[in-house]
């Protein structure tokens, strides 16, 4: 019996079958396995969070948002930083993971959180904290972050650190932050006879400037705005904050945008789109669309963060000198945001300490890592954008001086933005769900000439109240 089985199994047909089965099993096993072996703590460090990391500790850290090969200069700097870091910590292996497109894409990120397959040190947006904690994704690093492990800690804007805390516990360290403002195309401003050094600071001014720019013709729009993929609601919120309004009530239970200010925003957009025809015919735009228009000198203004300029220059081939920024119209408050790194929950104390040591070196030390402006200038990378801007006190002074010394762009183009700081304000609760509803207000007013601002806002108010009441 055994011999006959063996004989038959050796026939080519059966060998093929066995191979196919084995390959299928192997492929499935590979699909189901996403994490590598964890070899942290081999050097035997201290489990006391406040104790400094033993430089000889052997740890491997997987970290996302390593620049991809296409970003040669950034990747070169990353590798140089790893080498410099390894001089002090020779046994810490930085296993960088580069991702195509943006460092965090919501679909990929939420799936990774759900599968708990995020790297040891993972990149998030400020607004991700709740979902990360809901999924048990981040370690509490409060006890590990001190002025010994992060010397500039006292100079980090407490508002920025505040968005990375919940119930007094710290879950992340910032790498960048932004405040939204009015991004302008200086070339179009000049062509339209407007002063690019004084971007409009009110919506009346925006409307007037948009009309002048659109009059240039040739398919140029004066002002652009989003109305799809939840980004329309996001910009409506920014505009509302700028005028001093709010999206939800203070207790977070009711919609608060169906007000005179809310109507003013919608009516102004309607006037620009349909009366002045200064917003172009193509609507239902989302993040990325307006940048393309502005980079090709087809758009005069839109609400944006400073790093949109980097995107336009690096990805779309525009020039820094062609753009400038002013404060958000209204100037009462502005939507702020940013990104940070968190450390995977369940990481060993040594791994957490190693991660904090790396983040301190790479992202939180003036003159080092991302703040080594002289090196960035040599490598042809942009220096001079008003972002990140989370340092205060002596660190800010040092950072500003270093930045000015190596600026690669006309920093005076951002003077109006820098000289008129607007207080930052965080996103409303259930932000994405509310933005989805408010997208309808934006798409309604920008695609229908007969849109009724009152009706759009009233419908959205009812729906947002439903969203807030819906567990």
């Amino acid at each position: 019996m055994r011999s006959s089985w063996f004989r038959s199994a050796r026939s080519p047909r059966h060998t093929a079958a066995t191979l196919v089965s084995a390959l299928a099993l192997t492929a499935l096993a590979a699909c189901g396995t996403s994490s590598s072996a964890d070899n942290d703590g081999a050097g035997g460090g201290s489990s006391d969070p406040s104790a400094p990391l033993d430089p000889q500790t052997k740890v491997t850290l997987t970290i996302d948002c390593m620049p991809p090969a296409a970003k040669k200069a950034e990747l070169k700097e990353w590798k140089a930083d790893v080498a410099a870091f390894n001089k002090k910590y020779p046994n810490i292996t930085i296993d960088g993971k580069s991702t195509p497109g943006q460092c965090e894409e919501p679909a990929r990120f939420t799936a990774a959180l759900k599968a708990k397959s995020q790297p040891d040190v993972f990149y998030t947006y400020f607004t991700d904290l709740q979902q990360v904690l809901d999924n048990g994704g981040a370690a509490d690093i409060t006890a590990y972050v001190t002025d010994k492990t992060v010397p500039a800690l006292g100079d980090i804007d407490p508002n920025v650190l505040g968005v990375l805390k919940q119930d007094g516990k710290l879950y992340g360290l910032p790498t960048s932050n932004y405040r939204m403002g009015l991004l302008i195309n200086r070339k179009l401003f000049t062509q339209a006879g407007l002063d690019p050094n004084n971007p409009p600071t009110t919506w009346e001014g925006v409307r007037s400037a948009a009309k002048a720019i659109a009059a240039l013709g040739n398919g140029v729009a004066g002002y652009g705005d989003y109305s799809a993929a939840n980004t329309g609601g996001w910009h409506y919120t920014a505009a509302m904050y700028g005028l001093g309004g709010d999206i939800v009530s203070a207790d977070g239970t009711k919609a608060a945008f169906n007000t005179a200010l809310g109507k003013q925003i919608v009516s102004n957009l309607h006037a620009m789109r349909w009366d002045d025809n200064s917003m172009g015919k193509t609507q239902l735009l989302k993040w990325g669309d307006l940048q393309k228009q502005m980079a090709t000198d087809k758009l005069g203004m839109f609400l944006a963060a400073p790093d949109d300029i980097t995107y336009m220059v690096q990805q779309l081939g525009a020039n820094y000198a062609d753009f400038g920024m002013g404060p958000i119209p209204g100037g009462k408050a502005t939507l702020f945001g940013g990104n940070d790194y968190m450390i995977k929950k369940g990481s060993s104390p040594d791994k957490i300490k190693a991660a904090i040591a790396w983040l301190n070196f790479k992202t939180l030390t003036p003159g080092k890592g991302q703040f080594e402006y002289a090196r960035s200038k040599t490598d042809g990378l942009p220096v001079g954008l008003p972002q990140p801007a989370f340092f205060t006190g002596a660190s800010k002074t040092q950072d500003d001086a270093l930045k000015a010394a190596s600026a690669t762009m006309p920093v005076e183009n951002f003077k109006a933005f820098m000289d008129n700081p607007v207080p930052g304000k965080a996103e409303p609760p259930k932000a994405q769900e509310i933005y989805k509803v408010l997208d309808n207000v934006m798409s309604g007013v920008l695609t229908s000439e007969s849109a009724d601002a009152g009706k759009l806002l009233s419908t959205a108010e009812t729906q947002v109240n439903q969203v807030l009441a819906n567990g």
Binding site: A17, G136, T282, D439, G444, S448
Partner: protein
Amino acid sequence: MSAPTLAASGESAGQRPGQPRRPRRIRANTSREGFARALRRNLSAHGFLLGALLCFAFFSWYPMVREFVLAFQKTEGGHTTWAGWSNLSYVFHDPAFWQAWRNTLLFTGLALVLGFALPFLVAVTLNEFRHGQGYLRMLVYLPVMLPPVASVLLFKYFYDPGYGLFNRLLGLVGLPEQQWLQSTDTAMVSVVIAATWMNMGGATLIYLAALQGIPGELYEAAELDGAGLLRKIWHVTIPQTRLILSLMLLMQIIATMQVFTEPFLLTGGAGPEGSTTTVVYLIYQYAFNFNNYGSAAALGLVLLVLLAGFSAAYVRLSRGSED
């Protein structure tokens, strides 16, 4: 003392007394060997089948089971707990829920009017060509071979109200510009037109194959009876392809109820005032923008139950075709 029963004596019903008992072990061994022989004979087939079964198990059946479980769970503070009906309650209380169903049904309805009838008419027309049919078949099927994203982006350019091809064509004949994707009235129709263009090639070929299976004598008999083109289609073509038409109808309903790619790329998903928000886009929003996998699974379950009804009908019709 009663006579021993056959069972008790170990004799089978057909066994005569005194006849030597057939050894059971031999029969069992024969059966086992037969099974082993059959197994060996079909080992390759089983091997190949195993791979497919494992793939289906991991990538189709397990996710379905997982979806069912997720629909009744909630993850908060790193802990997953049973949520009862709360995910379904969330879904039913979402202000976009009914709008998404209305839009999806509208898409399905319009897709049936355009995407079901048009390929059939094209197939009937192609079937009438005596020359160059292969070339025309290739032309009709060509859009199916284009990557869907490329096709959709092509239509996005065609529909653009500022510089799009369609408005330019309308302008050439003196007709007013249309808003296409940017109007609540025309957004869904525009999505359906793009989807039909992208997908009708496959349905056309299936109809064409069915048409070519109709015996020519039936048409000859109809012609002898004085039937014209329309009467031949009505009395010969449609009855002869009825089963294929029914199956395609069901398959199309199942496919169009799951529409996602076209509105997602053409209008950003929601469209003007949410007029192209579909059920699957809502599932996408729940899962990947709201991080609410429980509600995404719950809505997926609702869709699954509905489509299962159509699938059951499809299986029944398939069996009918085998008979």
